[in-house]
């Protein structure tokens, strides 16, 4: 079969819901697109633990400390699984970490912001993870089957994180006026990044990741799904969403909202967020500190 006919057959296969395994033939562009997508996801899991990690030592009770430590451990585990999926597509892990540390590859916008109080930990685990799981659930059906299978395991763990976050938020909302104010303050700071998180509306017809079914839903669909489920849940516990334009069309069910600040999104994901430099610096130090472990583990065996 000629190359272009092979590519056409591949495109038909994935467009009609067919799956691709790591050892199957695939066009180079598809391989690169999946790898880039999964690599950014892996980077986000790895960097995403840093805002929460800052609160492990300051968790209010032992139970919260255990739950938060387990969540951080889960997210690092997700990074390991996802780097493995990306690695299997041909880019060595050392290279992916080097690119991340040098700022050549990106991680999600929400992990570039500071966590100012314990309420931030609750809002992140509840709403950031909820917004993420909307996207991740759609990825279970990815045409790249090893990614889809990994997402099934990840979604299962993320659903525990959302419950943990919701429990933290509900506990504070049932607490003192000061605790409620902290949650409201956290929601106000996180709402902008949350609305930016799925990215700007794009033309689905021009999105190659959609055509190949690497992902199955466009940005705006994901944002609408998140709003449909979470706007009522946020309001029913007495929180105010800081967007005067937010309203749901009674007929279509779609939400209108103030246009998110896309300039901020672009600046943040290109490394100019309030904590971008600090978090990357922490990773660099950590990577250097743990070099001896990798050297020891990977060293040639000593002859007995």
């Amino acid at each position: 079969m000629s190359d272009s006919r092979r590519v056409q057959a591949f495109n038909r296969h994935v467009a009609s819901g067919g799956k691709v395994e790591a050892t199957d033939w695939m066009p180079e562009e598809y391989r690169r697109a999946v790898r880039r997508f999964v690599e950014m996801h892996a980077n986000s899991e790895l960097m995403g633990v840093l805002p929460e990690r800052e609160w492990i030592l300051r968790a209010p009770t032992l139970k919260r400390k255990l739950a938060l430590s387990a969540k951080v451990q889960d997210e690092v585990g997700h990074a390991q699984l996802l780097y493995r999926v990306a690695e299997d597509l041909g880019k060595p892990r050392e290279e992916m970490l080097a690119d991340l540390l040098a700022g050549r590859t990106k991680f999600h916008n929400v992990f570039h912001y500071p966590t100012r109080s314990w309420a931030d930990v609750g809002i992140i685990a509840w709403l950031v993870d909820a917004a993420a799981i909307v996207a991740q659930q759609a990825l279970r059906e990815s045409s790249y089957a090893p990614y889809g299978r990994t997402m099934k395991k990840i979604c299962w763990e993320e659903s525990v994180h959302i419950l943990h976050g919701r429990d933290v938020v509900l506990t504070m909302m049932n607490g003192t006026a000061r605790q409620r104010a902290l949650v409201q303050d956290a929601l106000e700071r996180w709402w902008g990044p949350l609305m930016q998180m799925h990215g700007p509306r794009t033309d689905p017809a021009k999105d190659r990741d959609l055509a190949w079914r690497i992902k199955n839903k466009d940005n705006e669909t994901l944002r609408q799904e998140f709003l449909t489920v979470y706007v009522p849940r946020i309001r029913e516990i007495g929180l105010r969403i800081p967007d005067p334009e937010l309203r749901q069309d009674p007929d279509s069910g779609r939400f209108a909202y103030t246009e998110p600040d896309w300039k901020e999104l672009y600046a943040v994901v290109t490394g100019h967020g309030p904590r971008s430099a600090e978090r990357l610096e922490f990773r660099r130090l950590n990577y250097a500190d743990t070099q001896w472990v990798r050297d020891t583990v990977l060293a040639a065996p000593v002859a007995a």
């Binding site: 050892t23 451990q73 585990g77 390991q80 699984l81 493995r84 690695e87 299997d88 892990r93 050392e94 090893p146 299978r149 990994t150 395991k153 763990e157 990798r294 050297d295 583990v297 990977l298 060293a299 040639a300 065996p301």
Partner: protein, 106 residues
């Protein structure tokens, strides 16, 4: 990286006693000892597995030739859906109710 070549290990897990071993994912490790640590960490950390198999990818014999596995001939006689017994049972019952099983053959 040091001297040891890395190797891909495929991991299979059993969720509960009596269940099938199912493919979980794979990992990269220089030897069996490190592979088993990773496998335990990635696929057993939350007590989601009662048994793991960790197998070098190179040791797996893969068959995916459709001529062998999905031959193009009609094999419906090997499957429950290949038999339309419900309709035939209804026909037979109707015939019996009408009194007198006739001579009608196939």
């Amino acid at each position: 990286m040091g001297g040891q070549p890395m190797q891909v290990w495929e991991v299979f897990r059993r969720e509960r006693e009596g269940g099938a071993m199912q493919h979980a994912g794979n990992l990269l490790a220089p030897d069996a000892e490190l592979a088993s640590h990773y496998a335990r960490e990635f696929y057993g950390r939350r007590q989601e597995s009662v048994r793991l198999w960790v197998v070098p990818r190179a040791a797996i014999l893969e068959l995916d030739d459709p001529d062998l596995l999905q031959p193009p001939f009609d094999r419906s006689f090997k499957k429950p859906a290949g038999y339309s017994t419900e309709i035939k049972a209804k026909l037979a019952a109707a015939r019996a109710r009408a009194g007198g099983a006739g001579e009608a053959g196939e």
